[in-house]
């Protein structure tokens, strides 16, 4: 019995050591490859946004953008954010005065979060992918896997996300801009009338690790892309 206990103790120690090891971050690692595939296929739609201080990934219809910082010490408000056109929501009944402060900027709605104040350094020039790698490296909790859609995603807080397919060859939603509809519903939006956005119930997992079903505004795109898996 002592031998068996010893053996199991060793096994547990080995497994727990492995568990603590970052190399086991299969989601983080794989998400980088998938993100790279998305960036590549979008080509010119991924640009540097000097005003923001990072990178911008625009939707094919131009109605939404995902922005991520190149250096968190330089971005002033959000380090990751979605910028979407306000008009479709206004047309659906949005009372902009009821939006939280700072969401409406000009004709856009900006929803995002600050990750930190880190001054990021790169081995070479910063690229869209290397800046994404910094998120994985430093703020891994903000990267998730969404089993129901087989997507990776960057959490932008308050239920807003940018998601992309793990494998674009098998997925009909290669990139998805995800908004928490609560603030819009509270501001008078008729969820069925927002042009360019799908209002749907989505099964996901909350920060406490519990499966939940939530309402979302989705703006999905199929990019006819290729697999990120090698």
């Amino acid at each position: 019995m002592i031998k068996k206990l010893l053996l199991s103790a060793l096994s547990i120690t080995a497994i727990l050591s492995l568990t603590a090891c970052n190399k086991l971050d299969v989601v983080g690692d794989q998400s980088i490859k998938s993100f790279d595939a998305v960036v590549n296929i979008l080509g010119d739609q991924v640009t540097e946004d000097t005003e923001f201080g990072g990178w911008s990934l625009a939707s094919p219809d131009g109605g939404a953008r995902f922005l991520w910082s190149e250096d968190y010490s330089k971005t002033t408000s959000n380090d990751v954010q979605l910028v979407v056109k306000a008009q479709p929501f206004i047309d659906a009944g949005l009372d902009v005065t009821k939006l939280p402060e700072g969401v409406l900027v000009g004709e856009d709605l900006i929803l995002g979060t600050e990750l930190g104040k880190d001054a990021l350094t790169y081995s070479g020039d910063a690229t869209p992918l290397s800046s994404y790698e910094q998120i994985v490296k430093l703020y891994r909790d903000n990267i998730s896997y969404h089993a129901a859609l087989d997507h990776y995603g960057v959490k932008l807080s308050n239920g807003n996300m940018f998601e992309w397919a793990k494998d674009m060859t098998t997925n009909d939603k290669d990139i998805v801009f995800v908004l928490n509809p609560d603030i819009f519903i509270n501001a008078g939006v008729d969820t069925s009338k927002v042009e360019g956005w799908v209002f749907a119930q989505v099964e996901t997992m909350d920060d406490n690790g519990k499966k939940i079903t939530v309402d979302k505004f989705l703006k999905p795109f199929e990019l006819d892309g290729q697999s990120a898996e090698k």
Binding site: T19, R140, S144, Y145, D150, M205, N208, G209
Partner: protein, 820 residues
């Protein structure tokens, strides 16, 4: 032909018992092999010329189970006085070591004790003590704590099971927590972010693996035994658990590999917690079962604990306290008031009253005087007595009772055979159902995870261990309860048959009556003196063991009559005796004897009828071919007879009385106790025929008797009940022995049988119910109609508690109350 009982280890369910039974049963020379799962004992009857015990033990081990060897060596710890240094202890050790029969000795100077392992067949403890004394040290009194090996083994088993369960729980609870939290939205506690399955699925999987490993280690026996049984094509309960949990683990490992390969959705196909919690729950069930099983044999443990550990032997006028094992036949033993009588014997000196309740259930102390028998474990209440040991060790009444109860508890009722047959086929059938259900759901288009869940649930819920425990546990408690009430039931079959009895035949003398008749009337013919008639009759009956003869002898002794020398003696069974006294040919016996010898009874017909009508037995005495008179003898009806017979009639049982007495006497007694059907003037050899006739009428007959002449009828009857005050032959022939002479124990025995059989049926119902209802649900039949799917964890819980509920139900029998 030889019969042996071998203790088996490693059996976990009825299928295991079946397997051992089959393995031993097919050895050439084995006539009968029966395994009792509850007592974990194999009873084997074999031809010594063809096979021996080592071969049988080998077969048990080949089947994958262990044989618990009963050591022939005793181990004893003797405190030693006078040792001052290591040299002393060395000296003592060497001295003891040299003794023949000593296999191991260790003397500890610090504790001043010698631990000696010795063969009691070769050397006695006293010889070892003498050796210590000769070496120059004092062998002090032994520690009173004797070791109950079996108890220690059971306690160790329970402790090990609990430890394993605790290990499984400690790791199983967090495992269940991590696995279930994502599913249970109302549960307020979160999973740490670093283990969120959607963020860190591989960490989540590896953590589960690390938690399930110790659980598998705790339950490794399920795998070693289960797969071994499976390989030998004889799957048992462990096989089901092993296959079910292995399926869960292998499927989870596959999904872990999928996660590593980038298929993170496979995190939802992890079932480590299913395997872990199943093992934990089954270990819990096994632990509770072991505790409950221990309680079923409490009665026998109580009996075993009754015997005192030491006795005061008088040697050369000195009182020496010796261990009970050292008391020999012929030793004179002193018993002080309040002490227990150590062995069986005959009182030599002193008077006292003895509480024999632990043996007979009789609460009133029994007076003892010189010449009376005393029994081991009974309590000497007030006087001091000296008695001569007549039976020691395994020959004492207590040891015999313990053996009888042990044998009964180890035996199987016919109803158990059915359960055994079912459980023998059960596991392979369940494996097939599980596989079929798995394939059916896959073909129906359900995902692999769904089919695996079904497969695991079916295997886990269908364990037949409750089935295997249903009958033996009830029989153990039932027979134990009987023993507590002075009713010794010799086996499961007797216990089962008793509840079917619808006719009871009571022997009259000694059973319905006290069996100590007294002379009530002496009616000589003209020309013969009463005293002379009694003297002749008593002289003839002097050597008789018949109660009527003994009554006449006692009658003569009361009158201080001289017993004459008998010149010739011939017993005529069922009729009387023929003797020659002082040259006179004397016939003493019943009417039949006189009729056979054509002796006219005309002159005494009226007197005879009157006496018989009064319930008295007329004994005719003829001298030299002429009737000389009647000596009437009457027996007193036992206080409880009428009440017991009324109770039996209330139970719907027809009661009859059988006797060799004349019809009138018999009917008079029958009337007193309320019996309608009287079988009178039946010769001893015909008693069994009368029983057979009743059986021919389609009745299930129970015969209650006490004498040698009742033995054939006791054997012929479906159930023979011998009264404890009766002869050894009657007790050996009977299926049930009543330690007291109280006839109320007859309805109590029937009530006990009914209660036990009812309990067995309830147990079987529950055991089958769990499986019959559980298997279709586990196979997903409710799901077919839109209902829920049985989670394998709940299947494991149901299975674990099925055994516990069956054993608990059997323990309810402990509340059985005897008729008073």
């Amino acid at each position: 032909m030889s019969k042996e009982t071998i203790r088996i280890s490693g059996m976990t369910c009825a299928a295991c018992a079946q397997r051992v039974q089959k393995a031993v049963g097919k050895i050439d020379g084995v006539i009968n092999a029966s395994v009792n799962f509850a007592t974990e004992k194999l009873s084997v009857e074999f031809d010594e010329a063809a096979v021996n015990i080592p071969v049988i033990k080998d077969a048990v081990e080949q089947a994958g189970y262990g044989v618990i060897e009963d050591s022939k060596f005793n181990q004893v710890t003797i405190p030693i006085g006078g040792m001052t240094c290591a040299a002393c202890s060395q000296r003592v050790e060497k001295a003891i070591e040299k003794l023949e029969g000593v296999s191991k000795v260790s003397v500890n100077l610090a504790t001043e004790k010698a631990t000696v392992e010795y063969d009691s067949q070769v050397i006695r403890l006293s010889a070892i003590k003498q050796c210590i004394e000769k070496t120059g040290y004092q062998a002090l009194e032994l520690d009173k704590n004797t070791v109950d090996e079996d108890k220690i083994r059971k306690e160790k088993e329970i402790k090990t099971l609990w430890t394993k369960f605790i290990v499984a729980s400690v790791f199983g609870l967090p495992l269940l927590y991590f696995a279930m939290v994502p599913m249970v939205s109302w549960w307020p506690f979160p999973i740490p972010k670093a283990l969120n399955p959607m963020v860190f699925p591989l960490r989540f999987a590896l953590l589960q693996i690390s938690l399930v490993i110790p659980i598998i280690v705790a339950g490794y026996k399920f795998y070693t035994i289960g797969f071994k049984a499976l390989i030998q094509r004889s799957p048992n309960m462990d096989s089901l658990v092993a296959i079910g949990t292995s399926a869960a683990i292998l499927y989870s490992i596959f999904n872990t590999y999928q996660i590593i390969s980038g298929n993170f959705g496979a995190v939802e196909g992890l079932y480590y917690e299913t395997a872990g919690v199943i093992i934990a729950l089954i270990l819990l069930g096994k632990s509770l079962e072991a505790v409950s099983k221990g309680k079923t044999s409490e009665a026998i443990k109580k009996l075993m604990g009754l015997a005192p550990k030491t006795a005061i032997v008088i040697e050369d006028g000195k009182e020496i306290e010796v261990p009970i094992d050292e008391v020999e036949i012929g030793n004179v033993i002193l018993v002080k008031p309040g002490d227990k009588i150590p062995v069986d014997g005959v009182v030599l000196e002193g008077t006292t009253s003895v509480d024999e309740a632990m043996l007979t259930g009789e609460s009133m102390p029994v007076d003892k005087k010189t010449g009376d028998k005393v029994f081991a474990a009974s309590i000497n209440k007030n006087g001091m007595i000296k008695f001569k040991a007549t039976k020691v060790g395994s020959d004492t009444a207590l040891a015999q009772i313990i053996k009888l109860v042990e044998d009964a508890q180890g035996s199987k009722a016919p109803i158990a055979q059915m359960a055994d047959i079912v459980s023998g086929y059960f596991v392979p059938i369940v494996c097939s159902i599980a596989l079929l259900a798995f394939l059916a759901w896959l073909i129906a288009g359900e995902p692999l995870a769904f089919a695996v869940t079904i497969f695991i649930s079916v295997l886990v819920i269908a364990c037949p261990c409750a089935l295997g425990l249903a009958t033996p546990t009830a029989i153990m408690v039932g027979t134990g309860k009987g023993a507590e009430n002075g009713i010794l039931i010799k086996g499961g079959e007797a216990l089962e048959t008793t509840h079917k009895i619808n006719t009871i035949v009571f022997d009259k003398t000694g059973t319905i009556t006290e069996g100590k008749p007294e002379v009530t009337d002496i009616v000589p013919v003209e020309g013969v003196q009463s005293r002379r008639l009694l003297q002749i009759a008593a002289s003839g009956e002097k050597g008789s063991e018949h109660p009527l003869g003994e009554a006449i002898v006692r009658g003569a002794e009361k009158e201080s009559l001289e017993i004459l020398k008998v010149e010739q003696f011939e017993a005529i069974p069922g009729h009387g005796i023929e003797v020659v006294i002082e040259g006179i040919k004397v016939l003493i016996g019943n009417k039949k004897l006189m009729d056979d010898r054509q002796i006219s009874l005309e002159s005494l017909r009226e007197t005879s009828d009157r006496l018989a009508g009064e319930g008295k037995t007329p004994m005719y005495i003829a001298m030299d071919g002429n009737i000389s008179g009647i000596i009437a003898v009457a027996d007193v009806v036992k206080e409880s007879s009428a009440k017991a017979i009324k109770k039996l009639q209330e139970m719907g049982i027809e009661v009859a009385m059988i006797t060799g007495d004349n019809r009138k006497t018999a009917e008079a007694i029958a009337k007193q106790v309320g019996i309608d059907r009287v079988l009178a003037e039946v010769l001893p050899q015909d008693k069994s025929n009368e029983v057979k006739k009743l059986q021919g009428e389609g009745k299930k007959v129970c015969m209650v008797g006490d004498g040698i002449n009742d033995a054939p009828a006791l054997v012929q009857a479906d159930i023979g009940i011998a009264i404890g005050s009766g002869t050894d032959v009657a007790m050996e022939s009977a299926d049930i022995v009543l330690m007291r002479s109280d006839l109320m124990d007859v309805p109590t025995a029937i009530k006990l049988s009914k209660s036990t059989i009812r309990n067995i049926k309830q147990n079987l119902f529950w055991a089958f119910g769990y499986n019959v209802a559980g298997i279709p649900i586990a196979a997903g039949i409710l799901h077919l109609f839109g209902g829920p799917l049985l989670n394998p964890i709940f299947a494991a819980a149901a299975m674990a508690f099925s055994s516990v509920s069956v054993v608990s139900n059997a323990l309810r029998l402990k509340r059985f109350k005897a008729y008073k």
